[in-house]
């Protein structure tokens, strides 16, 4: 296997006295599609948020593409990362949020072109072309001039995916992308994610409760419990033959409920 693109080494994250990630060791290979499942509070979303630099870590080292994420190398030692370093590392990631977090005051098109023009320095024309391609890919080509409030939840989330992809990240993070959607709208979003998974060699980290989907799309499933990986493996193995009792309990509760 080639060099892992993400490495968590003994990472600890706590909110006050509450420990959310407990000496986590975790790796992801380039191009791998990993789904993270587990009970709430197990730290799944926190892993994604830490990678997206939305949360700091308390201990441990995270390496992304060979470079430390929350640290930087200075004179051979590791020091806490500066904002400049974080900005460089952030480019690698794109994130899709549970609540979509579209910019309500901008049209769909503007939502997608704003960051490429402001951050990547693309010309208006280039950004627009890229946005139109992406809108085509997520099936919303005719909604470009609408405002987020005029779209359904499923449509908004697809825009969210397009917006993240417009920055050409190497690693896509999906934080419970369908948990806030009405059941009928879940499918259209999952289809887009599946398409993305099959057509691109993007590395993808997905936190979700949609077990059937996880099974279809993932190369590996990780079961998180209380800040550690309890069990991981290929979806076929983990879902049909979980080795840990805790995993069995969880799957039983989720698949029945």
């Amino acid at each position: 296997m080639s060099e892992p693109i993400i490495v968590f080494e003994d990472v600890v994250k706590s909110f006050g006295s509450h420990v959310v990630l407990d000496k986590l060791n975790f790796t992801v290979a380039p191009g791998e599609k990993v789904t993270i499942i587990g009970p709430s509070g197990s730290g799944k979303s926190t892993v994604l948020r830490i990678l997206m630099t939305l949360e700091k870590i308390n201990q441990g080292v995270i390496t992304v593409g060979g470079e430390p994420l929350w640290h930087e190398r200075k004179n051979g030692a590791l020091v806490p990362a500066s904002e400049a370093h974080l900005r460089t590392m952030r480019k690698i990631f794109g994130m899709v949020f549970q609540q979509f977090n579209l910019f309500p005051h901008m049209t769909v098109l503007r939502n997608i072109t704003e960051a490429p023009t402001a951050v990547l320095g693309l010309s208006k024309k280039e950004a627009r072309e890229r946005a139109e391609e992406l809108l085509e890919m997520v099936g919303l080509a005719d909604q470009a001039q609408k405002f987020p409030r005029q779209l359904s939840g499923g449509q908004q989330q697809r825009v969210g995916i397009a917006r993240a992809l417009a920055m050409r990240p190497k690693i896509m993070l999906f934080d419970e992308p369908t948990s806030a959607l009405d059941p009928e709208l879940v499918g259209e979003v999952l289809n887009v994610i599946a398409k993305l998974a099959s057509e691109h060699d993007l590395t993808m980290l997905l936190v979700t409760h949609e077990m059937r989907f996880a099974r279809e799309v993932s190369d590996r499933v990780c079961f998180f419990d209380r800040g550690k990986i309890k069990e991981e493996g290929k979806p076929q193995e983990l879902f049909t033959n979980p080795k840990e009792e805790r995993t069995r309990e969880f799957l039983r509760a989720v698949l029945e409920g």
């Binding site: 949020f97 977090n101 704003e114 993240a164």
Partner: protein
């Protein structure tokens, strides 16, 4: 004299009132954004200065501020050797603008802080700098929230311009005093200017409502 003969000087005064209102409101708006955003800065010098400005101009009386700028500042200037004698217009616009700007700054600050944190997270995920996030994402969403309060502040500012008459600025209240002194017809004169101020306030309110609507167009139908 017939009341219609009072109109020319009063209308002259009304025009001065309008000018005063416009200039001081513009100054106030600039201060409101500068110090409202400044109060949120992580730079403690900017933040401290903003807080001091806001506390002083909100915590003391406008008339005191006006008199200080007109009567006391020249003396302070003399002490340090600079000529700081402000003509009534400058003192008036400055006092009114700084005063209303302090109240406006709190409105600006509050509205920016009311923007959902998830918007900042989305901006960060897309690698916007903090500046870009403030100007492209937060402010456009905060401004419609500020408008109702700004509308009230604008009318308050209009009313406050009357105080400039006390430093001999020839606004509507000043002209009214002149006419009253001349004709002793208090009831008519004051009734007229009360109505004129009322009329100006209604026009100003209408303008602010129009602004409110145009700035919040992207929000669609709101209750």
């Amino acid at each position: 004299m017939h009341w219609t003969e009072y109109l020319p000087p009063l209308l002259q005064g009304a025009w001065v009132t309008v000018e005063l209102t416009v200039y001081s409101t513009i100054l106030g708006a600039v201060c409101a954004f500068a110090f409202g955003i400044g109060k949120l800065s992580r730079n403690w010098a900017i933040k401290g200065f903003s807080i001091v400005y806001i506390e002083i101009f909100r915590g003391t009386s406008l008339l005191v501020q006006l008199f200080w700028l007109y009567f006391a500042l020249p003396i302070a200037g003399d002490l340090i050797g600079i000529n700081l004698r402000l003509p009534p217009v400058a003192a008036g616009v400055l006092a009114l603008g700084l005063n209303i700007g302090a109240y406006g700054a709190e409105v600006v600050r509050g509205a920016i802080q009311a923007v959902r944190p998830s918007q900042y997270e989305a901006a960060k995920a897309l690698n916007f700098t903090a500046q870009q996030a403030l100007w492209r994402i937060a402010l456009p969403q905060a401004i419609p929230e500020m408008m109702p309060a700004f509308g009230n502040l604008a009318v308050q500012n209009l009313k406050d311009t009357a105080l400039a008459s006390l430093i001999s600025l020839g606004d509507l209240a000043f002209r009214a005093e002149q006419v009253r002194n001349f004709t002793q017809d208090s009831t008519t004169v004051y009734s007229m200017i009360l109505l004129m101020y009322f009329g100006m306030a209604l026009v100003l309110t209408a303008i602010m409502r129009l602004l409110e609507r145009s700035v919040g167009r992207w929000r669609g139908a709101r209750s």
